[in-house]
Symmetry: D2
Subunit: 351 residues, 4 copies
């Protein structure tokens, strides 16, 4: 089969590869829509997971089942399905502890384009079909469905880790597609003010549509000072980091109240140490919690988040600024993600 792959660090291309084999619990799907992710860019051009050869890229997509294993109970060929980026081993002790994304080791629930080939092929393999697929709801468009793989659950995770209480003030640092979903999620989780930090016009507009009550432009001054100015000097209850680098934690800790939470959903690509400022962290005693996680994955969350779309609580299709048609456009879409034209939030490819 044909697939679009990482050939090595800094190098991508189309390859021919064997169609994946379906184990007893698994499904083989063909894509209906696909989306590249900033993580694909990290993987190829930053070597984030190390050098890889002929690794099929991609972990965001919606598909149709073409084959299922003998032990699969709920899905059959022809079913249209939502596919989470993270597909855990659900009987692992880590899953039993509530952290399936780390089944078999830290981050090991992340299999697509990491431990095995990704979804940018004519066919792709899904482990534990009953546990990891969900039915595409009737009437859901492919753009929405595609955003359910990673953008929605990662944004939601940022909010879940932030443990938002009714009326909390929240700052979301970074309003790319994941940050925007964090804005939307915070807005339907009971936050009052949601401040989005960013500057790109399209992103700012969508942030407001998604429920941001204020936009903070880092070009207009220190973001910590801006947040303090908008909160009577008190800071926000929760910060969600959806962009930036290791220094962003310094800002986050400075702008969050005592007993607040800093919740990270950004992939941290380089540097040695995350910086937590000692004094602003209450000399160790300020109860400012620091947490960072990978989306959980699996069927239940897909179903729950899809239900939110269906009920009209969130509208992730608004992230999609560029739509391509045809499998061969994956390359162009990925390079667009790499080059980030100013009007881009998220591209998808419809097959």
């Amino acid at each position: 089969m044909k697939a679009f792959a990482m050939l090595g660090i800094d190098k991508t291309g189309w390859i021919e590869k064997e169609r994946p084999v379906c184990g007893p619990l698994d499904a083989i799907c063909r894509p209906l829509a696909l989306a590249p992710c900033t993580s694909d860019v990290h993987t190829v051009w930053e070597g984030a997971i190390g050098d890889r050869h002929n690794l099929i890229l991609g972990h965001e997509g919606v598909g149709e089942v073409v084959e299922v294993g003998s032990l699969v109970k709920d899905f059959k060929p022809g079913d249209k399905v939502l596919i989470p980026a993270i597909t855990p081993d659900w009987n692992s002790v880590e899953a039993q502890a509530g952290y399936a994304q780390h089944s078999g080791g830290m981050l090991s629930g992340w299999k697509f384009s990491n431990i095995k080939d990704g979804v940018f092929g004519e066919f792709f393999h899904v482990n534990d079909a009953d546990g990891n697929l969900a039915f595409l709801p009737d009437g859901m468009d492919l753009a929405t469905a595609c955003m359910l793989s990673d953008m929605v659950p990662t944004g939601m995770l940022g909010v879940e880790m932030a443990d938002i209480q009714f009326g909390d003030k929240v700052c979301v640092i970074g309003i790319g597609p994941v940050g925007l979903m964090a804005v939307a999620s915070a807005s339907i989780r009971g936050a009052s003010d949601v401040f989005g930090v960013g500057t790109r016009k399209n992103c700012v507009e969508v942030a407001k549509e998604f429920g941001a009550t204020g936009i903070i432009n880092y070009k207009e001054g220190d973001i910590v000072e801006q947040v303090l100015a908008r909160t009577d000097g008190k800071g926000v209850d929760k910060v969600i980091i959806a962009g930036g680098d290791l220094d962003t934690f310094d800002q986050a800790v400075r702008m969050v109240k005592p007993a607040g939470i800093v919740s990270n959903i950004a992939y941290l690509g380089g540097g040695d140490y995350i910086k937590i400022p000692r004094v602003e962290w209450g000399v160790g005693m300020g109860h400012k919690r620091i947490i960072g996680g990978l989306m959980l994955g699996g069927r239940l969350r897909m179903e729950q988040y899809a239900a939110l779309c269906k009920a009209g609580r969130i509208n992730p299709a608004k992230l999609v600024t560029h739509t391509f048609n045809g499998f061969d456009k994956i390359e162009e879409a990925l390079f667009m993600m790499k080059d980030k034209p100013s009007d881009l939030i998220k591209p998808i490819v419809i097959l």
Copy 2:
């Protein structure tokens, strides 16, 4: 001063009473707007808290501070303030355990028109002003402010106890004013489907505006069957009881999934035992949690819920269907609450 009081069971009237005395931590306020509550009706015409003589009624209102005690730090005469129906003793061990509403004994945080005179007087007394008052935000209308005393926090509590997760399906039994706020709260807490059980036209309309995705009419058949029919036979994740009687728990347990939650915010006025059906409760092992509580009260929640209004997340003023003008209209408003004309949700009196 003049006040409207319970004279005895089944009997109300205007009385003259001494203006309340301000202790060192307290405030004396005059009302700017007041609202009667179904609880006032229970108190007078059901004798819910026992017989009382010349007890000033009312626990919902917004006011202006006219006097503060010597230890009050944050408020001064002239400040316009939000006033929670529940005004706990914040240094009690119960408050330190997170349950201030039960400070000094079960439900003892409920002081207005219970342990002491209520707010339907020319002046009323607020214990622990710094802990229990909140500033009326600039630009907030009196109808919204008045709903923050009890309707909003009680509806919010129903949702908080239900521990809603993103995508949960929720059924709110009873869509009077408190149930409607539960609908609104569930909708901004991450629920997907929110079903409201009720029939009154005004209530149904507001329920939909507040985020209900479906209305269940108990006149059209068993509500348990209707809920199961709308959830593929699985039931809902959470049930909030905001109306009904002891038998309502039987219905709630039958319509909730294993590991779901039944969250009660209705005052249960009569009968001996709440009925939890043994078999549907999993013969004791179905993890269907039953909880019922009183709103917490206090300043922080007032501020947090007010922030939700200001950010446009909720709009409790829509509950107000009837507005009276003048202190002497309290009587009429209370009797309206008692008689419940079909177009009533909530009346208020502006002073």
Copy 3:
């Protein structure tokens, strides 16, 4: 193979049955030690799960793997293993929601001697071996291991649902084997006073060894009054119900503080409605939470609870008052469990 089975309601006997077949994810084990449970008595003599014919009984035991399916990764023939009474489907949506015991429907994680044959055979079948078995730790005696199937996890669950905080006062109603493990678990979970309600001499002694600070004898007066007397009239923070009937909930609610928890781990065999007293439940607003659950099952909990035994935190072997030798003694052990001689806590059969 030979097995001891329920022949019909009120009737047990030895039968010949096919050795179970091992699916790709499963294991076949032979027992090393077995224990009858009060639930087996309910199943046979109360028809608790309905009439059944030739259903092999038993869900408590420790075994040796004799065969594994092709997809099993961690276990192989010859491995000695702990076996939980509850063996969930870990990829189900219920498991993903944290309630694996209800995978596929309420209580459906309970498979042994319910949905399929139990462990009282020469061989027995374990679904999802990697997810549900745990290695028997070096040096662990069979009595301890056998108590890890059900007695330990059910007692622990009672305490986990009770959400005990450091210093909480706890009452455990019923100090049979499960109640005793609840006493032990509460004592190592941070409770201060743990009151055990019971009278049998052996049980009282073990309760004290396990950390009970007081014993309440229901023959000496109303247990609610006794609990109130020992807590300055305030009641306990948490109640764990490990025995009794539907009326026990009435007592539990009366003896628990506002905002306390009533945590049920008893199988409720008969009657229609659990009785929650309206007034003592705070007319619906007392925050007295009612919860009842089935042990979770699965590998992680087995490992965690086994680690507690190994570290010397609990010593469940003390529950075993009667030890039989030989597979054919299962019948005698079960009838002993049924007849409950006064010195019995728990019998086991060593093979």
Copy 4:
């Protein structure tokens, strides 16, 4: 009155000062026993809270009430009382949010020898007597009572923030008096293995008595490697930091499992940034939570922890290695705390 005070950085001495004035909610106490704390050493010789002149030192002690304010309900002169090191303002919004220790600003619940004079005087002042004092239980020795001010609640906090589950493996870094109480608390909170990191002979002995299942000597090699070696390379579930410096977080993150918790109770005296290693923190996605807090303070915790002592669950008097007699011995006790002779855990002064 006579008091022992910080005269300036690096300088202590006896001073004469006015007896403190009792506000309406307050109490004045005289000490029955006192203990110096490492924090006093930080305050004087590291200038941790800045330069101060004639600030009376001390925040650990047990006392007798000699005067109460007019609004105090529960205490009267002659009552013997437990006194928490942290005495919050319980009606503050921070307390209402569950973080009373930060009432009025980060760490502002810490008043003794910080915002006001400490307890090393002939008399000392306690704000909000009803909310912050607890009765000395009958029969409790003064050493135990004195350890309830800070050592016990701080150790308990470390365990509470670590959210220990039954069977968790825990590493406590630092087994001075606070770390030892963390060892004891973890052992009664359901941990299986508790590893204590330290070398001092007395501390090692008490750690074992308090429930440590292993001791890790940092002189014998890298502690991360030692922890991994004892946990089959998997690491521990939770780490409690009760000593060390900013680099200790690097070690803690390396030794904790994905989805584990690093819980800090050490005062961090110097340096700019806490070091969280990027890669071992899962490139931002490993769910290794970092939290650090100040003990909560207040009456309820005093009562709950005292109940644990009374029930025999913990025995903090074992921390006391050196007992002095007479108020004038405070100086010697403090210098002992500063000089830390090898056999010291904690000194107290009995008056």
